[in-house]
């Protein structure tokens, strides 16, 4: 029944690639045991090998060694571990100050707020109208008390890429740890820890046609990080719990299936869609025109409301997302749109389109035609924008 849906919410979740499922299958039915030490039974050793292999394959994409990469249940857990783990490790020894950007996704933002309640001091850095971090403000914000800077590699809503290399270099120069949430960028926008000074990186499988429930955290060798998921000694004794081996194998396969050619194809679709969206009267692009995720387009349309747009698009067979307060569970307008200087009205009429592997070129015109029509219809019943 959903075959005809044109799905453009790939920044929320993606359809699993069959090749990923095929790679995972043996670890549900044949090698289904826990990963044992080399003194365990054969199946357990096979499971251990599969896990080590998956770890090495994901780590290599980041330019990291396998020992520097741990699997988690997804980016929410990874970012929680990064922020709270560093806070627990250094809070008493070094200082109680953390710096994050104002437009981080909730795992980082809410971890920072949780630490604030524990007595940590948090600085929320501003971004410009495109969502780019103010680097001077970052330099000024770092104090001797600062233990961690966490700035995302790319924004979840407006797709803006940050200058991770410069932010990392600034942190390195000041002797402060740097975490980046690369949930939405890696591996489509590559990040190599041999070139970029970054200490902790959050990544996930479910946005690159891998399985949900598996992600990871890159932890540069020697980074002080406290364990807070207590239990066994798994994942370099940083994250207890029976390893999700099918998930890890699926993650590795998903990473390998991402190619620069595919990313270039998405970027082409993105650019054409943005061009079409900006032809709609009273529309504006959210995020940076060029420094943005290759698969993300986001625009605001005046005089119309996002949830209404979304429902009308759904009736026509398109899945998109909005930053409108009406759509959010908390009734709060998108903190990202507000963070880039937008008002509630701009968030109210914002729509995000994110491409994935299974989108086709013809989807661009189809979605552009549909949204133009929906907006025209909703504007006809709106009390605003008539005079």
């Amino acid at each position: 029944m959903f075959e005809d849906v044109i799905y453009l919410d790939n920044a929320a979740a993606t359809r699993l690639d069959e090749r990923v499922l095929e790679a995972m299958k043996p670890y549900f039915f044949d090698v289904y045991t826990v990963a044992t030490s080399q003194f365990g039974y054969s199946l357990g050793i096979d499971a251990r090998d599969a896990l080590d292999d998956a770890r090495a394959r994901v780590a290599v994409g980041l330019g990291a060694t396998p020992e520097e990469f741990i699997f988690t249940s997804g980016s929410t857990e990874s970012s929680n571990l990064a922020l709270k783990g560093v806070a627990m490790a250094l809070g008493e020894k070094k200082g109680q100050h953390i710096i994050v950007s104002r437009i981080e996704d909730f795992p980082v933002l809410h971890s920072a707020r949780a630490l604030e309640k524990q007595g940590f001091q948090v600085t929320y850095l501003d971004v410009d109208e495109y969502g780019r971090l103010d680097l001077d403000q970052l330099r000024e914000a770092i104090t001797p008390e600062t233990i961690l800077v966490s700035v995302q590699a790319a924004n979840q809503e407006i797709g803006t890429l940050q200058d991770v290399a410069t932010i990392g270099a600034t942190c390195r120069e000041k002797g402060v740890l740097f975490h980046t949430d690369a949930t939405h960028s890696v591996p489509r926008v590559p990040l190599d820890v041999r070139e970029t000074p970054v200490d902790l990186i959050t990544v996930t499988a479910h946005l690159i046609h891998g399985p949900k429930g598996v992600g990871g955290l890159y932890v540069r060798k020697g980074t002080p990080l406290a364990k807070w998921m207590d239990g066994g000694f798994q994942e370099s004794n940083l994250r207890a719990g029976t390893e999700n081996i099918p998930g890890a194998v699926g993650f590795a396969k998903a990473v390998e299936l991402v190619t620069p050619e595919e990313t270039a194809r998405m970027q082409g679709m993105r650019d054409r869609l943005i061009e079409r969206l900006l032809q709609i009267p009273h529309s504006r692009l959210n995020g940076h025109p060029t420094l943005r995720l290759p698969h993300n387009a986001n625009a605001s349309f005046r005089f119309v409301e996002g949830e209404s747009i979304l429902l009308h698009m759904d009736m026509r067979g398109f899945a998109v997302s909005t930053g409108s307060a009406c759509f959010s569970r908390s009734l709060e307008a998108s903190h990202v749109i507000l963070g880039i200087g937008g008002n509630h009205e701009r968030a109210h009429g914002s729509v995000r389109f994110t491409f994935g592997r299974f989108n086709q070129d013809r989807d661009v015109d189809a979605v552009a035609d549909a949204i133009s029509d929906v907006i025209e219809k909703l504007r006809a019943i709106s009390p605003l924008g008539k005079e």
């Binding site: 209404s308 009734l331 009390p383």
Partner: protein, 211 residues
């Protein structure tokens, strides 16, 4: 796939009735909610002899529940006298729509407020307003019954969130049984101000949170 909205809501959202403007309107009102950003405009044609609504139209800058309530409430109001139209409650509109999700109640209340405000606009334009009553604790309490607690979709008074109301020298003080950092605190605060501030003898609204 079960949608959070009833079939009737979706039908009115897809094909809203009485949409648009009345060019030579006898009365009009625009109501907005700072909490969610929705706005609704209501236009009336009234038979001056019978004080009966002969035509009513609405416009919406809002979500599905706002559009659907605007649609149903204009259907309900058409042909009614002004007194009857004023008496239409949000509950009646919601029931006619087959219910609304709790979190969406305030977007829908807005449409009901829009109709009432348009009727009031007609009364003001035609000298039908009765003597202005001074604001009392009871007047405030009545207004607070139109502010929703978004968590449960019932009003503040019914959900016992209002601990105390004081009215003195043009200042209304409301004490809420709610932590100041509650997820909806800011929304509730804005909606209280929106409902109480327009009262003719109120200069200032102070809301305090306990806990």
């Amino acid at each position: 796939m079960p949608l959070p909205y009833s079939e009737i809501v979706m039908e009115h959202f897809r094909h809203p009735r009485n949409v648009g403007r009345i060019e030579d309107t006898d009365a009009q009102a625009m109501e907005g909610s700072p909490a969610c950003g929705d706005m609704v405009a209501v236009y009336l044609k009234v038979d001056p002899e019978e004080l009966r609504i002969t035509d009513v139209k609405f416009e919406s800058y809002g979500c599905a529940s706002n559009i659907a309530t605007g649609s149903i409430i204009t259907e309900m109001a058409k042909g009614k006298t002004l007194e009857e139209a004023k008496a239409i409650t949000w509950k009646q509109a919601s029931e006619a729509l087959g219910g609304l999700p709790p979190v969406k109640v305030h977007c829908s209340v807005l449409a009901v407020d829009g109709l009432r405000a348009a009727v009031q606009n007609y009364e003001e334009r035609h000298g039908l307003v009765k003597e202005r009553v001074p604001t009392t604790v009871e007047v405030v309490r009545k207004r607070l019954k139109r502010v929703m607690n978004p968590v449960v979709g019932l009003d503040l008074v019914r959900t016992k969130l209002v601990e105390k109301i004081e009215v003195a020298d043009g200042t209304v003080r409301v004490v809420l049984h709610l932590p100041a950092d509650h997820q909806f605190a800011a929304n509730i605060l804005e909606e209280i101000a929106e409902k109480i501030e327009p009262l003719w003898d109120v200069d200032k609204v102070v809301v305090e949170f306990t806990e």
